[in-house]
């Protein structure tokens, strides 16, 4: 049972990784990256590592996604003004 669940989550993560690097729309890629972080949080929970799961949920999805999005805001705002 555990083996099949881990296999299904890994297939989802591989498809998400291909979609992230092949997308032309950059904010769409950042949101898919947050979904990738959610998949890895579920994997850490299955591997009996609750501290690492909590850290990855807060940092990998919260702070990392927000830093990427704010960088996009800085780049786009300059581009639209010119």
């Amino acid at each position: 049972m555990i083996g099949l669940i881990v296999l299904a989550i890994f297939i989802t993560l591989i498809i998400l990784a291909v979609l992230i690097i092949e997308n032309n729309d950059l904010p769409h890629s950042v949101i898919l990256f947050m979904g990738f972080g959610l998949g890895s949080v579920i994997l850490y929970f299955i591997f009996s590592a609750p501290d690492v799961a909590l850290t990855e949920a807060v940092i990998g999805t919260g702070v990392s996604g927000v830093v990427f999005l704010v960088t996009l805001l800085q780049i786009r705002s300059k581009e639209i003004k010119r």
Partner: protein, 128 residues
Amino acid sequence: MLDSFNQTPFLHSVITIGSLLIFAIGLVGALTKKNLFKIFLSFAIIESSLFIYFIGMHFEVGKVAPILTNEVTEFSTNMVDPVPQAMILTTIVIAIAVLALALSFIINYFKLTNNMRVDEMNELGEDR
């Protein structure tokens, strides 16, 4: 037959092949894409795949988390190794700090030259 999916060697081979595939996908993205932002996103994917590999290889089926709860009332060797989890916890925080520093560099570069593509970076005067 479904019981053979629960054994530890099958789980270890699934984790190895999956992590290596995600690493290869991130590496292709970092080497071939021409937008600076997408290169850093690929680096973040590479780091996530390595953390999954490191924690997954130290897991064996049937072991519990290294915390005392209502069911697990004493420390025994039935617990997962706590040292790799402590190392990965520190490494996740360091990875986000280094990524933020790199992103501040590309913001400053964009504000000076208004350019986000790697193959148009020729301020040092390289003739083609």
